[in-house]
């Protein structure tokens, strides 16, 4: 299998789907002449031309809405919002329009649109440019939400997203673009939504990692095994809507303990949702509360040392796992 970077895998997914289906086209700020702020769309303007690779003005709400209208009338737009931070400007089109239209109009229209955008912290971009909004989008019925953490998943999930008839919020991670991994080059390779990946099997604790945190969790699991003799089962949900809760519950019923790792804010986050679901559906199997390791509850500071303190690292996962595993059953 060829090895490539996450950004290249995304680029390949876009190119293959554009090749395969004339109705697929791209819109976004600086995706064409500039080749993409993160170079995901590199070369695509040259290859597919201005009709299918459209640079937009800085008008997030409206070009997102243009995607909605185009999707309602036979096209498959893949809209890039340069980073998740700017998606706040487009939420009306995403929530009041894209997500609602199929239901609200009694099934007469569909919105097969993909909204791609990278998020995450770690590059000292400061308070307005370091958000993780997975927990906003997963709330919204009508949307699907994908959060790929590997190059192969990035490609396979993006191809599925483009072929899907629902609006898909596709959240990439700025710090993963340069990561390498093996990626199938079969043009029919796709990864279904709603199927979590068990990255590592283990019997002592279930660790769910979201987006980049699936990588962080995997690294922590290696250390936990090597240094603490604790076998963590690491699960990457890959999509948050649909959510493969079954795989997570099955694991928790085996390990009886669970830690959720995410980069976003703690309150009402992805981990809160998972904790609520897990304690609801696996209450009697839990030997400890579902623990959460999250980003800090603050606007992300610029200073490197403060920023590093504000999103989870392997050691935080290890600490949380040790606390969860070490907790005596029945002890307050």
């Amino acid at each position: 299998m060829p090895e490539m970077r996450y950004r290249e895998a995304l680029n390949q997914a876009l190119a293959e789907e554009m090749e395969r289906d004339e109705t697929v086209f791209l819109m976004g700020e600086d995706i064409g002449v500039f080749n993409g702020a993160f170079k995901v769309t590199n070369g695509l303007l040259e290859r597919f031309g201005e009709k299918r690779v459209r640079d937009t003005p800085i008008s997030e709400n409206s070009f997102t809405g243009i995607g909605v209208g185009a999707a309602m009338t036979g096209l498959r737009p893949v809209v890039e919002i340069m980073t998740v931070n700017f998606s706040l400007l487009a939420l009306d089109q995403v929530i009041n329009h894209a997500a609602a239209i199929h239901y609200m109009f009694g099934g007469q229209a569909t919105v097969p649109m993909v909204l791609r955008m990278p998020g995450g912290a770690g590059n000292q971009l400061g308070p307005t440019h370091s958000h993780s909004f997975e927990a906003f989008f997963l709330q919204v019925p009508g949307l699907l939400v994908a959060v790929p953490s590997t190059p192969a998943d990035a490609k396979g999930l993006l191809k599925t997203a483009i072929r899907d008839d629902n609006p898909v919020v596709f959240i990439e991670h700025e710090s993963l673009y340069g990561r390498r991994g093996e990626v199938p080059d079969d043009p029919d390779f796709t990864i279904p939504f709603g199927v979590a990946a068990v990255r590592r099997e283990g019997s002592d604790v279930t660790v769910v990692g979201v987006s980049r945190m699936a990588i962080t969790a995997g690294e922590a699991a290696t250390t936990l095994a090597d240094e603490h003799g604790i076998e963590a089962e690491v699960i990457d949900p890959r999509t948050l809507r649909p959510l493969d809760l079954d795989t997570i519950l099955e694991s928790v019923r085996k390990t009886n303990r669970c830690v959720v790792v995410e980069e976003g804010w703690p309150h009402g986050g992805v981990g809160a949702n998972l904790a609520a679901l897990i304690q609801e559906q696996a209450f009697d199997w839990l030997d400890a509360p579902v623990a959460r390791v999250t980003g800090a509850d603050l606007p992300m500071p610029y200073a490197r040392n403060l920023e590093q303190l504000s999103f989870p690292h392997g050691q935080d996962v290890i600490d949380a796992v040790l606390a969860t595993v070490g907790r005596e059953v029945g002890a307050p």
């Binding site: 243009i66 209208g69 199929h102 279904p192």
Partner: protein, 349 residues
């Protein structure tokens, strides 16, 4: 037919019939609202019939129309069954949207009415996206995107006009300037209150029509649509109009005087156009009464249809939140284990 001239008699009569139908439909809808048969917010098009019928007459069947929360008239003019429109207001299963949308969210794919939208300004980019699709697919379809004067101050207005001009999209933006956005007069919401000039900064030509005159509206919109179709550039049409009723049913209307309302009522588009047709010998007084009676009868039938239509099945509550495909599985909907049953839909595959 030259400027301001009547169209052929048959067309003229049809326009009159459509306007009367809309008027009678809206009156009945308002009445049913006060009887609590219709819920939510109800925004009527009474007084604005010429802007609706004149506009729709300027469109081809394969053109697209998209509007706001005040679009019962538009979907009727476009040819939707009045019974299904009324059933939508009643929240019944035979409503255009199966009762999901209600008054503010009409849609009829069959007549290319691409939706009424409850968010002021929200329909503009969607309209531009539809126009983009027409262009992309190599057709010569045009989209007409209707909005109120209040919508021009939503950011999407300038954003979308710029994008439409930049990308040469075949779209006509139609501002129905009825002098108020809710209770706020145009001069109190727009520093530069001349609506047709609101596209100037973006290089979008603006034209104006008398929205109380169906002929002028038809002519102006026709020209705009055909220019857009052939020259591939967006145009802004401002139609000066007035709503005779409150913003929605149950608006105390403290922001305008009853004298002002009365003055405008004298310019009633149905009255004036009816008079003109009568003067031209196209309809008689008796014809006008018959047209009215037929409209009332049609609305009566619509009402009967709506009343007879059942409520949506509770079991359908979770249908069509998603398009289900073989490639996805997992939950899509409500996960609750307690409380009333709301078992979610599950994908087939």
């Amino acid at each position: 037919m030259s400027a301001g001239e009547l169209p052929d008699p048959e067309t003229a009569r049809r326009w009159l019939e459509k306007m009367v139908l809309i008027r009678r439909f809206e009156e009945r809808a308002g009445e049913q609202y006060t009887r609590a048969k219709v819920g939510g917010f109800l925004h009527l098009g009474i007084g604005e019939e010429a802007t609706i019928v004149g506009t729709v007459a300027a469109l081809r069947p394969d053109d697209y129309l998209i509007g706001t929360y005040r679009t019962h008239g538009h979907v009727l003019a476009r040819g939707s069954d009045p019974g299904r429109v009324m059933a939508e207001l009643f929240g019944r299963v035979d409503g255009l949207c199966r009762g999901r949308g209600g008054s503010m969210h009409m849609f009829d794919a069959d007549v290319r009415f691409m939706g009424g939208y409850g968010i002021v300004g929200g329909n503009l980019p969607i309209g531009a996206g539809i126009a983009l699709s027409s262009d992309y697919r190599g057709t010569d379809e045009v989209t007409l995107c209707q909005m109120g004067d209040g919508a021009v101050n939503q950011g999407t207005f300038a954003e979308t006009l710029n994008l439409a001009a930049l990308w040469s999209l075949p779209i006509v933006f139609m501002v129905v300037n009825n002098l108020y956005g809710m209770g706020t007069a145009v001069e109190r919401h727009s520093a530069q209150p001349d609506m047709k000039r609101r596209g100037e900064s973006l290089g979008v030509e603006g034209v104006e029509c008398d929205g109380m005159d169906v002929v002028d509206t038809f002519e102006t919109v026709s020209r705009a649509v055909e220019t857009t179709r052939s020259e591939r550039r967006p145009i802004l049409v401002e139609a000066e109009a007035y709503r005779f009723r409150g913003h929605s049913v149950a608006d105390p209307e403290e922001y305008r005087t009853s004298e002002e309302v009365e003055e405008w009522r004298e310019r009633c588009p149905i009255l004036l156009f009816g008079n003109r047709l009568e003067e031209a010998g196209i309809v008689s007084g008796a014809d006008r009464e018959r047209i009215d009676a037929e409209a009332v009868a049609e609305v009566d039938r619509a009402l009967e249809f709506a009343e007879a239509s059942p409520e949506p099945e509770p079991g359908s509550l979770h249908d069509d939140i998603y398009v289900l495909g073989g490639q996805v599985r997992g939950w899509y909907s409500d996960h609750r284990e307690v409380g009333r049953s709301t078992a979610g839909q599950e994908a087939a595959g």
